[in-house]
């Protein structure tokens, strides 16, 4: 039995539960757990996967609840219209908050969500039309045709259907083209924006997407809650619940779908017990359970940052690896320039950091099929030049032309689209994705599946193509046997090769390698050289930044030498080796 079978069985069991003679008390408990899980699933995506966080999810639930409450009581409209209105308002608000905060450092989003959660709470609590702090009463039950979800036992289906569908959607999303980018963004797990941008993805758009999805899930939860309670008031949508949702996510396992359900269930059950026992200990009444939650939250982050789900999933059958169907049709390929055609023309690029001229009017050209090395001693400005060409750094002046198209001043995303792909000196793989998934990330620009399509599972054909392409590239570099290994488990040498495979998966016209041999052992260097020789034989154009002379000499057709940001010479390896100026630059001898 695989994990998938088990999940389906569990889902069916949950949906069949109301037919069994389960006491109403447990149905109610499960309703709450389902409602919480919906919200927490959004946080799993946002916080666990994306490395962003929000304390305002309770407020989005409040939007969902109050929209339907107002429309279905005061206006007498159908709850389904209320659902649509709630989602629309949530979407709008999430877009505004996201647009304002997501371009800045990660801590502005949580601060903004705390503030807006408080603002909304006080707003709702003071608006006459929304019943102030008493809220609105007498909401109708949700109707579907003649069937009325009027009892807790009936709305249970609606709640759990929503929760399970959301879980399915999030699971599918994470295992898709947009999901791979989302999983690469988490700065808490060594991710960030540079690599996905270099693969052609707008990271801002994906952050915004994750935030919006999380908000919409919370809104649906609020709608369900309102029609389960048949009344709303501001208190369940305040900041206390906003924080509790995050607590559930952290406790259950912040990056996993299973963790969302685990966390929601544990917190709900524990909260009920604590509400009984703590007042007996402390006397009086009040929210004493927050003491326990607070302390446990700190302890979990300290001692079990992955939450409790890993302890449970250890006993479940391993996740099945989807086979790669290599007969899938190939992804569309780029029209590459013929051998010898002009490919990259770098004209007098310059970079100044304050008064320091890191790159001083460097020019060189690459023709299709060339293997060019950019060398120089430490601090010569090689990597800065590399970053100017690939669009990671803005240039001070100069021009870069790629395939006849001016790309200077463009973002690395646009340059990737123009046909350039790159690797990183400090390897940027997503450690908890498999090697195959990491390479498939490189197909981003050759595939089209968007977030909604991925969540609905309509991307199977394209996904098979992307995986087949990834497998082909892995075979090209000789790592196909490790395709299903987690990338984080590989040694540095193979990781560098995986980066090359990922870059190749984008079908580039020019491949830029940033110090590919740095930190490699002798054997690993040999394997890398072998792969590069083979790529050269296949006619690929390469620009290699490297300071291992030996490595560069054996591979390249031409070499550009830099020193102190200046162009020193250009020539064949033999010419460079014979040049006294180069020797002086490297060894510091007098000329």
């Amino acid at each position: 039995m695989t994990r998938t079978h088990l999940s389906v069985a569990a889902a069916l069991l949950l949906l069949a539960l109301p037919f069994a003679p389960v006491p109403d008390f447990w149905i109610t408990q499960l309703n709450y757990i389902g409602l919480f899980s919906l919200v927490v699933l959004g946080l799993v995506l946002l916080t666990g996967v994306g490395g962003l966080t929000s304390f305002g999810q309770a407020a989005f639930a409040g939007i969902g609840a109050y929209s339907t409450a107002y429309l279905s009581t005061t206006m007498g409209l159908s709850p389904w219209l209320g659902l649509g209105a709630g989602l629309a308002i949530t979407l709008l608000l999430a877009l505004v908050i996201g647009l304002l905060t997501l371009r800045m450092s990660g801590h502005y989003l949580p601060l903004a969500t705390i503030c807006w959660c408080l603002a909304l709470y006080y707003l709702v609590g003071n608006l006459e039309a929304l019943g102030k702090y008493d809220g609105l009463l007498g909401l109708p039950a949700v109707q579907l045709g003649d069937f009325s979800f009027q009892s807790e036992r009936r709305i249970y289906w609606l709640i759990w259907l929503a929760a399970l569908l959301a879980a399915l959607g999030v699971t599918r999303l994470l295992d898709s083209r947009p999901g791979r980018i989302m999983r690469a963004l988490n700065t808490n797990r060594g991710g960030g924006a540079t690599m996905p941008e270099a693969m052609g993805a707008s990271t801002f758009r994906y952050k915004l997407t994750m935030f919006v999805i999380a908000a919409l899930l919370a809104s649906v939860s609020g709608w369900l809650y309102a029609h389960m309670q048949r009344s709303v008031n501001p208190s369940p949508f305040g900041i206390k619940f906003g924080i509790e949702y995050l607590f559930m996510a952290v406790l259950g396992g912040i990056a996993t779908v299973g963790g969302a359900f685990t966390g929601a269930a544990l917190v709900k059950l524990a909260e009920d017990q604590l509400k009984v026992w703590l007042p007996l200990v402390f006397g009086g009444s009040g929210n004493y359970e927050i003491i326990v939650f607070g302390v446990v939250l700190v302890l979990v982050l300290r001692f079990a940052p992955d939450g409790l789900w890993p302890l449970i999933s250890r006993w479940l059958p391993a996740k099945g690896q989807r086979a790669v169907d290599e007969s899938a049709p190939a992804l569309s390929a780029r029209q590459h320039p013929g051998r010898g055609a002009p490919l990259l023309d770098v004209r007098a690029v310059r970079k100044e950091f304050g008064g320091l001229v890191a790159v001083n009017d460097i020019s060189f050209t690459i023709r299709a099929g060339d293997i060019v090395g950019l060398i120089g001693p430490n601090g010569a400005g090689k990597s800065t030049t590399f970053n100017l060409v690939s669009g990671v750094l803005p240039l001070t002046s100069g021009e870069v032309e790629l395939l006849g198209q001016r790309v200077d001043g463009r973002s690395s995303r646009e340059i990737a689209r123009a046909g350039l792909s790159r690797t990183f000196q400090h390897v940027k793989l997503v450690p908890d994705m498999t090697v195959l998934e990491n390479v498939a990330l490189g197909t981003y620009l050759r595939t089209k599946t968007g977030t909604v399509r991925a969540m609905l599972g309509l991307n199977a054909a394209e996904e098979a193509q992307a995986r087949a392409e990834a497998m082909r590239q892995l075979r090209r570099i000789g790592l196909e046997s490790q395709a299903h290994e987690l990338a984080g488990n590989l040694a540095l040498g193979p990781q560098r090769l995986v980066e090359i495979a990922r870059a190749l998966a984008s079908d580039p016209s020019l491949l830029l390698l940033d110090e590919p041999a740095a930190g490699l052992r002798h054997k690993e260097k040999e394997a890398l050289a072998e792969v590069l020789r083979q790529l050269k034989a296949e006619g690929l154009s390469l620009l290699l930044v490297e300071h291992d002379m030996d490595f560069v000499m054996k591979l390249t057709d031409r070499i550009v030498v830099m020193e102190f940001g200046r162009w020193l010479m250009e020539g064949t390896p033999a010419e460079v080796q014979a040049s006294p100026a180069v020797r002086a630059a490297y060894l510091g001898a007098d000329e």
Partner: protein, 345 residues
């Protein structure tokens, strides 16, 4: 609105703004040294006010028990860590004494204060000592082991600490709100305005603290060490500056500033066990104005928040909080133009 009302509201806003400035000051200090977004700063404010209120009523403040609790927990952690690292027993004992001595002394002295019916200034001193002593203990218990964690993790820890402290505040002080006596009952009429002595003390204390901070960071070696840590933690460590000591010191200062803010504000505002959260968050809105990094900008932000709050409560008193917390959106918009980049740490 005529000039008189505007002047009264303006004074009111400035007074509250001065308090938010103190809170924002502590938040910027803690964030720049430790990268911790210190949500529980407001709890120090509430604890300061409630501790003095208890002393005034002749009751032993709950914060004394809380302080002892924290000290014992910290001592246990220190002891376990010492044993695990096989340090000599004498060193372990010394560290335990160092952790426990001050809290124990404060716990022993406070009942004496009550018995002697000590004057207000002694009660204030006791209050400041009790709350300030919690600062380093809190750093030790919740944050020290995670000092290398991401800003996000530290923020979630902060929220956990806020939960725990608020709950404990409820346990130790109950749900009722309290006010404390003003330090100075005098009244001065300046045109239409009536300045109270407490208002003058608030302004005075804020200015003195701001100047003291400036002096501390620019002129003292310890201050420069903290500044160095805030710029580059690893670099500072290589220069022999302990990141843990810097964190501990910044928390001590934050706790002191918090307690003082509480004493300043509580004669005019009733303080409940959970009031601190809102005060702290208003300090955050102010601090965000300066990108959580600039003291002068945070000060300007605090005055802005205070004024918006007082004028907001005049025009739409029910929506005072809504207005104040919505203000963060335009502030963020403005910030996003000022520093849009750096997302990768």
């Amino acid at each position: 609105m005529d000039f008189t009302i505007a002047a009264i509201l303006g004074l009111d806003g400035l007074t509250n703004g001065a308090i938010y400035a103190l809170v924002a000051l502590a938040l910027v200090l803690v964030f720049s040294v430790t990268r911790i977004i210190f949500i529980p700063q407001g709890e120090f404010v509430a604890f300061g006010a409630l501790t003095l209120a208890s002393l005034q009523m002749g009751k032993l403040p709950g914060t004394v028990w809380l302080l002892l609790l924290m000290a014992v927990a910290a001592a246990v952690l220190d002891g376990v860590q010492g044993l695990r690292e096989r340090r000599p027993l004498s060193r372990i004992a010394l560290s335990l004494v160092r952790t426990l001595a001050l809290p124990a002394a404060l716990a022993a002295l406070t009942p004496l204060l009550l018995r002697w019916q000590a004057p207000l200034w002694l009660q204030v001193l006791a209050t400041l000592s009790i709350v300030t002593a919690m600062g380093p203990l809190l750093y030790r218990l919740a944050y020290r082991a995670l000092s290398a964690a991401s800003v996000l993790t530290l923020l979630i820890v902060s929220v956990g600490v806020h939960f725990a402290l608020t709950g404990l505040g409820l346990v130790f002080f109950g749900a009722e709100g309290y006010r404390t006596p003003a330090f100075w009952e005098a009244r001065f009429d300046v045109g239409p305005l009536s300045l109270t002595g407490q208002t003058l003390i608030i302004f005075g204390a804020s200015v003195v603290l701001l100047l003291a901070m400036f002096f501390f960071f620019e002129r003292t070696l310890t201050g420069k060490a903290l500044k160095a840590t805030s710029v580059n933690r690893t670099g500072a460590r290589l220069m022999g500056i302990s990141g843990d000591a810097a964190g501990s010191l910044s928390f001590t200062m934050a706790a002191f500033i918090g307690a003082l803010s509480g004493l300043l504000i509580s004669p005019s505002t009733t303080i409940y066990y959970d009031t601190g959260f809102l005060i702290g968050l208003k300090g955050f809105v102010a601090a965000v104005f300066g990108g959580l990094a600039s003291f002068p900008m945070a000060l300007a932000g605090a005055v802005g928040v205070g004024l918006i709050e007082s004028f907001g409560s005049f025009w739409a008193s029910a929506f005072k909080e809504v207005i104040v917390f919505t203000v963060i959106l335009p502030v963020l918009l403005w910030r996003s133009f000022v520093d849009p980049h750096h997302e990768e740490h």
